[in-house]
């Protein structure tokens, strides 16, 4: 029942803790609230009265939030301190997956482009490789663009995998779904690995004096490929968990009256 989940989310959402800790709080409180509601519904027969009585017995949300916050260790609280600007990456209630991916990846790519420019100019200022630096603008320009393409493709692959997994969990056609998922995983890794190769290629093409050697470029590509191979399965799994969490809890509007 949505009203019960809303009540639980009012309590848990403001708590500063890891998602795993908050998921556990949600499950515990929801189970308890559902049982309270069932008991009160059996007693009164009126869903509105039962909801009001169940939420009253659970406790006032702000007091419960404070109480739950006090049960979180200082280290965890500190680790979960929201950093300035990170709220941008949070999916807003009602926002489509595509819009969310494009919005967050655009912000991330631009931020990384700026950060990279600062690093490159710092290196130049420190006279490191200044003799080979040459015109770095192709690199600075192509990197955020290709990062954008790479990440949007990868997250979309994660989303497509998630949809296949959800369908597979509801239907019996697990083998064909598993094949499709495997195909999507390979496609996502291939797309993500292609990015550094294209970046290096574009630098070579656009820059008359590339500031990385062929060997260095090959190392970058290999390291990137290794990282992608290692993180993609974790990324896809985290994506599925995060999207399920959003659908169940994050998409709840807490200002509307309880239904």
């Amino acid at each position: 029942m949505k009203a019960l989940r809303q009540q639980v989310e009012r309590v848990v959402r403001p708590v500063r803790a890891s998602q795993a800790t908050k998921d556990r709080m949600r499950e515990d409180l929801l189970e308890h609230l559902q049982l309270l509601y069932g008991k009160e519904l059996a007693r009164s027969g009126d869903p509105v009265v039962a909801l009001a009585e169940a939420t009253r017995q659970l406790g006032e949300p702000q007091a419960l939030t404070r109480d739950l916050q006090s049960s979180v260790s200082r280290l965890e609280r500190w680790a979960m301190t929201p950093l300035a600007g990170t709220q941008v990456s949070r999916r807003r209630p009602g926002e489509s997956v595509g819009r969310w991916i494009v919005r967050t990846v655009t912000v991330g790519s631009l931020a990384s482009g700026v950060a990279l420019a600062v690093i490159v100019f710092l290196l130049a200022a420190l006279r490191m490789r200044v003799n080979r630096l040459g015109p770095v603008w192709p690199f600075l320009l192509t990197n955020p663009i290709l990062m954008w393409v790479s990440l949007v493709s990868m997250f979309w692959c994660c989303e497509l995998i998630r949809r296949q997994v959800e369908i597979a969990s509801q239907s019996g056609k697990r083998f064909s779904r598993a094949l499709r998922i495997a195909g999507l995983v390979i496609a996502a890794i291939a797309i993500a690995e292609l990015a550094p190769v294209v970046v290096i290629g574009m630098i070579w093409r656009l820059s008359p004096h590339p500031f990385v050697t062929t060997q260095e470029a090959a190392i970058v590509c290999l390291v990137w490929a290794g990282i992608m191979l290692a993180i993609f399965p974790i990324q896809a799994r985290d994506w599925i968990v995060a999207m399920r969490r959003y659908e169940r809890w994050g998409s709840l509007e807490l200002n509307d009256p309880a239904e």
């Binding site: 309590v11 499950e27 409180l29 929801l30 189970e31 308890h32 406790g59 006090s70 049960s71």
Partner: protein, 114 residues
């Protein structure tokens, strides 16, 4: 007798939970019902506050928990079963001694010995 509300229980709730769990592992819901059975009128507990108490006890390793496998097959919320650890039993024994001393001292001061 006037009911005992949540604020008055502060500091004692953890010990009450330990004493309930001494009788065997239980879900949060079962813990609330056992407390209610023992003092149905006197104890007015905000039941949500049981969980922060359980989490604190778990951090201190006085209580251990696991997901209930019987319930995990269903699509409803998952249930967690809590049980007393050895350290929890020791803590409960200490809490009982401390409580007896507390009641004895304050009872004498108030002119109402236990």
């Amino acid at each position: 007798m006037a009911p005992i509300r949540g604020d008055q229980l502060r500091g004692h709730l953890e010990n009450l939970v330990l004493s309930v769990l001494e009788r065997g592992p239980a879900h949060g819901w079962d813990i609330a019902r056992r407390l209610e059975q023992q003092a149905p009128e006197e104890l007015q507990l905000k039941e949500g506050s049981l969980y922060p108490a359980l989490y604190r006890l778990e951090h201190e390793k006085l209580v251990a928990s696991r997901w209930d496998k019987q319930n995990s097959a269903s699509r409803g919320p998952k249930r967690r079963v809590y049980q007393l650890t050895r350290a929890g039993r020791r803590r409960l024994a200490e809490a009982r001694v401390e409580w007896q001393q507390f009641v004895a001292v304050l009872g004498n001061l108030l002119g109402a010995p236990a």
